[in-house]
Amino acid sequence: MVNKIKLARTEAGLTQEQLALRVKVTRQTIGLIEKGKYNPSLQLCIAIAKELGRTLDDLFWED
């Protein structure tokens, strides 16, 4: 699944490790999501969106 998490994360000034800690997953999981190699659960999508101050549309909606 294509997403804009990496861009939103760097704009928020967070490292993969910091975001992983905040949403209680491993850094590997964040890396996989950013690369589109793992589709997170809705619960995790919401947690990431909240931490990055974005909506689900901002992060996951394909134009």
Binding site: K24, V25, T26, R27, Q28, L32, E34, K35, Y38
Partner: protein, 157 residues
């Protein structure tokens, strides 16, 4: 989701999903093999006196080994190891743990069999401990190496 399996699963949802897949694959393969074995036995072998305990043990152990091997090779165990410094530190930790495992194996075997009286009994005590430690090291090292390789492709720095 409520399940007794939650006790065996990690908190991280990616790891959790992968391990559930490994468990499901193991169960699926076991089921298919059992059906094939039942068919072959019915048609050709016609074994009347099968040691049920032995068959049950083989199925259980092979299932666990399958899940374990898939876990080791998947590179999900060391999910935060990405720098060479951290990798080398983890190798040292694995080496220390393997030595500890071999040591405990040696002591427990010694307690069970008693102090060796000749060369043969000494070898019987020492070799399994060394092999155990080596096996422990290799499994963890492969898991670390696979995780490190995977992480390097995923992480920023």
């Amino acid at each position: 989701m409520k399940s007794f399996l939650n006790v065996f699963l990690p908190d991280d949802e990616y790891k959790r999903t992968r391990i559930l897949y490994f468990m499901a694959e193991g169960t699926f393969i076991s089921t298919i093999l059992l059906i094939i074995f039942a068919f072959i036995n019915d048609v050709w072998l016609e074994l009347k006196h099968i040691d049920f305990s032995f068959i049950a043990l083989i199925i259980a152990v092979s299932n666990i080994v399958y899940i374990f091997i898939r876990y080791i090779l998947s590179g999900i165990e060391y999910a935060d190891v990405v720098t060479e410094k951290r990798y080398k530190r983890e190798v040292k930790i694995i080496l220390r743990d393997a030595l500890g495992f071999g040591g405990i194996f040696f002591v427990l075997s010694g307690v069970q069999t008693g102090i060796p009286s000749n060369l043969e009994t000494t070898i019987d005590l020492v070799v399994p401990a060394i092999m155990g430690g080596l096996f422990f090291f290799l499994l963890n090292y492969i898991s670390l190496k696979r995780s490190y390789k995977k992480n390097k492709q995923l992480f920023d720095e």
